[in-house]
Amino acid sequence: MSDLTQLTISQARARLRGKEITATEITEAYLAAIDRANPVLNAYVAVTGDKARDMAKASDARLVKGEGGSLEGIPLGIKDLFGTEGVHTQACSHVLDGFKPRYESTVTANLWADGAIMLGKLNMDEFAMGSSNETSYYGPVINPWRRSRLDTVVMPTTHQGDGGFVSAGGTKTARTLDNAQLVPGGSSGGSATAVSAFLCAGATATDTGGSIRQPAAFTGTVGIKPTYGRCSRWGIVAFASSLDQAGPIARDVRDAAILLKSMASVDAKDTTSVDRPVPDYEAAIGKPIKGMKVGIPKEYRVDGMPEEIEALWQKGIAWLKDAGAEIVDISLPHTKYALPAYYIVAPAEASSNLARYDGVRYGLRVPGKDIVDMYEKTRAAGFGREVKRRIMIGTYVLSAGYYDAYYLQAQKVRNLIKRDFENVFAAGVDVILTAATPSAAFGIADEDMAADPVKMYLNDIFTVTVNMAGLPGIAVPAGLDAKGLPLGLQLIGRPFDEETLFQTAAVIEQAAGTFQPQKWW
């Protein structure tokens, strides 16, 4: 294979260890690809070429001695939400202008300790608030996937050289790409686009309501949000602390398993980091799922859901059944309340977390006539519309007289949502299968969604329940819709049972195959 960017992490790992390629070669290949594609796709907000080359050189020195770590020489993209020492870290917000932390987040430190290479920082919705990557201060990310039309082309009769093929006409089908630009989903839109368009071997991402799984589904990539507490939140810019979790976006299930193994750890610096050893997730891939009980929740069939999504779900059920799983109908009765409860809990936590952006300690400062005026002007100029909207909602629901009606009610409903899952798992269900999103990727600047924030929020309807209950969830590509866009399925597991998710996702991947966009950029 001539193009090193096409290698999966597991393939690159084998070639690096076998000394067939070097970390420097693969890093240069990615930097060249970023150079060509980024002006169009806008996946990276900062490219750290010098740092990448230095890290690659150090990796090569270790690889020569046969000392490489589990990700030695693998070039990765890092979501701008992760604190990276001395490197642009702004959560894609204007309010963090110029911020370069003096520390490294635990998750990225784990990756570098295992030998991974940083290519740069990836675009995202501002403070991870959004489902389309359009709220970024650095502008939207473009999905490498475009809608296409399936055409039947009549083949001319051709003769190809001596002893070559003779094609006697006939027809073949070809896809003609549409010009409309689509969103990659959000908030980890830069991560999803970079992985899907071969601008990094894998990427870090975070998920508060669906921000790993929805963009993964929109770009034909694999994304896993692990159980709350599995990855340390230390050094990651906080959005909603009781919901935020880091996880990887990767080209296939195995790569996601390799990345999560490195990202996850027990960390004394995060009091919600759970004290459990990190298993070898890769070992779960290929294990048979015979006899596994797969729950199909009836509440995940929503009004207005395209028939293609329902058909995809049925296909997923059939694949797992064929592999020997037992399919059971289940009910998660409080599902419909997860999204409204989320839009109280998440903004409430955000309003409190984002109080720190005051123009004093870091980032932007807009002068004012006194200190309060300075705060107000700085925050008015520094935060984008969606972020302000959520801070306002959060401030309102936490304000005197409204706390019980909104926040307390939402936290009670959250317990009911969690209980629904607990009941199902107690009844013997091992894993739950749903669609990952209610639609395929939509257009940039969609008018309906711009007019009504709630329409945008509905993107997370199938993913947000998982954050509310703190469970692990994986999105795995399962097919293309009639317009040639990728669609994903979601698997939800018991707390800390990511292994079952990898095991089951691998079965879906084997049946569905993997998907790559047709290159137009």
Binding site: F99, R102, Y103, T227, Y228, G229, S242, A268, T271, T272, V274, H334, K336, P340, A341, Y343, I344, S351, D358, V360, R361, Y362, G363, L364, K369, D370, I371, V372, D373, M374, Y375, E376, K377, R379, A380, F383, K388, R389, I391, M392, T395, Y396, S399, Y406, L408, Q409, Q411, K412, V413, R414, N415, L416, K418, P453, V454, Y457, M468, A469, G470, P495
Partner: protein, 95 residues
């Protein structure tokens, strides 16, 4: 429940975000759309249900009561927009 223009301005003040008259009017509509959406939570029977305090059942970790970090004043002020001798500079607060 819904908010009026005055409430939006009060909340913006609490959140320390300057809003123009036009911003406040637009936000009133947006916030009411969101509040209308979350209204459905009222139909859930939560009698006897405790509010969630931790999503994973775990005991709060406590660290040893010892100094583990420090002497980083220069790092702490490194990203501040205005500093002097490791102090953050702010507009005059006391006359």
């Amino acid at each position: 429940m819904s908010v009026d223009l005055q409430t939006v301005k009060r909340v913006a003040r609490l959140a320390r975000i300057a809003v123009s008259e036009e911003d406040a009017e637009r936000m009133t509509g947006e916030l009411n759309a969101i509040l209308g959406f979350v209204e459905q939570l009222n139909e859930v029977d939560v009698s006897g249900v405790e509010p969630m305090t931790s999503v994973t059942p775990m005991e709060m970790k406590k660290r040893q009561d010892v100094v583990t970090d420090g002497n980083k004043a220069a790092d702490i002020v490194a990203n501040a927009p205005a500093t002097e001798e490791n102090f953050f500079l702010v507009p005059k607060v006391v006359e």
